[in-house]
Amino acid sequence: MELEDLKGLIELLKETDITELQIEKNGSKVKIKREKLLSSIEMSKPVVAQEKPSSEISEETQRLITVTSPIVGTFYRASSPEAEPFVQAGSRVKKGQVLCIIEAMKLMNEIECEAEGVVVRALVENGQSVEYGEPLFLIEPV
């Protein structure tokens, strides 16, 4: 089994609820296991926990806005490969400011920030494919 196949398999698995898969082919055996996807609130915990005492965590995480992808596509942090990213962790953003582009079939969807705030974290790497509803950014509103 080639790396290409493995990648394809993992991609396919992402689109399902299956968490464990075992395949035997031409004598080679592959087992893929994955954790259930964390919800956006759970994912945001470690970031906040580093700086805040635990008693404040739940209050703080609820304040964070999770920007999700409205379509299946490819995530871009900049308008072209040479351009600077639209935003980075720590960037101050305004309501309506472009955070990233999701491309699907030459349809470029600019994702705008829905509130004024600060980017706490970008959750996806440039060029990576994202699913419908996948968390992209955590924004701390101000």
């Binding site: 290409e4 991609e11 409205p70 299946v72 308008s79 699907a104 079939m105 030459k106 600019e110 705008e112």
Partner: protein, 321 residues
């Protein structure tokens, strides 16, 4: 007013008297004469004969006034024309942001910064090709937005076929091809909010009267073509655009009322990609396989050499032998 005069000429197909025109349009005969001079300036050949009136002999290769006379539906009801602009998509995005209605069309004679995918340039020599953006305000789910690019591909291919007789094919997702050379491209830009699609701008570039050897940079000469090169003579952009907008009107309605099946069936009929061995370059990843089908959103389903299926949401497709 100018398009009404052109309409009168076309309806009659013969001389129209100055008196007839001034009655119908409610302006003086001297004012009619001024309008005729404007049309002549725009490239119309109009014969003026005393006692008979005016007769249209020949229309120019492109005229926005004439295009307006050919529009019947919502798409193109409002046409905004620029002799020169950075990019029709950028202009259309700004207009849409300011509230331009569904169906507004932006056309330019030349683009200084024609847009391609991911910051690439669309080569846009002056007064020869179609550079056009259509503003849509579709009432469909955001996750179905990719259907708009399928719809645009079908509309452009059908429009080119009906107006020129050329067999245009679609390379996934929406490149227009003639005998494996690129004739046109479509780049859609969209704005959505948590409630849904606010608007989509469909940017259409089609090589009509360009000579690829003269007008295009060396790196794309061999892989591009134009309608003029395929047919051996200059074609009217007016009629090609009119057919494309008419098809867009039709297929947009099909998308909203008939759903994706009839649209996808047509796309598959026009597709040159399905069933072929292809290479897809998606960022740093390259996949080779057979283009087996498209999924319900129009994404490409590739069968890898191992037999595994891989779904592609974006990338450049190259046909392999």
């Amino acid at each position: 007013m100018l398009n009404e005069i052109i309409n009168m000429f076309k309806k009659k197909g013969d001389f129209v008297s100055g008196e007839e025109m001034s009655k119908k349009l409610g302006i003086t005969r001297a004012a009619i004469w001024k309008k005729i001079k404007i049309l002549r300036g725009a490239g119309y050949k109009i014969q003026a004969t005393p006692a008979k009136g005016y007769k249209l002999i020949k229309s120019p290769e492109f005229s926005v006034e004439e295009l307006r006379t050919l529009i019947r539906g919502d798409i193109g009801r409002e046409i905004i024309f620029f002799e020169s602009i950075g990019s029709t998509n950028t202009a259309a995005l700004e207009l849409a942001e300011k509230g331009a209605p569904h169906g507004t069309v932006v056309i330019a004679d030349r683009q200084a910064k024609g847009k391609g995918r991911l910051g690439r340039t669309w080569v846009s020599p002056p007064r020869s090709n179609i550079y056009m953006s259509v503003i849509l305000r579709p009432e469909i789910e955001t996750e179905d937005a990719t259907l708009l690019t399928i719809m645009a591909a079908v509309s452009c291919a059908k429009g080119v076929m009906k107006s020129t007789g050329l067999k245009a094919e679609i390379k996934w997702p929406n490149d227009l091809m003639i005998s494996s050379k690129k004739l046109g491209g479509i780049l859609t830009e969209m704005k959505s909010d948590p409630d849904g699609i606010v608007f989509a701008v469909i940017g259409i570039g089609i090589n009509v009267n360009s000579k690829t050897k003269k007008d295009f940079p060396p790196d794309i000469r061999g892989i591009a073509t134009s309608i003029r090169e395929e047919l051996g003579k200059i074609q009217s952009r007016t009629f090609i655009i009119a057919e494309i907008l008419k098809e867009t009107e039709h297929w947009y309605r099909v998308l909203l009322t008939g759903g994706r099946k009839p649209l996808f069936d047509e796309w598959k009929r026009l597709s040159s990609t399905l069933g072929r061995k292809v290479r897809v370059t998606a960022g740093d990843n390259v996949f080779t396989g057979v283009a087996e089908d498209i999924d319900r959103g129009g994404m490409l389903i590739l069968r890898l050499p191992s037999g595994m299926l891989k779904k592609i949401s974006s990338g450049d497709v190259t046909m392999l032998r």
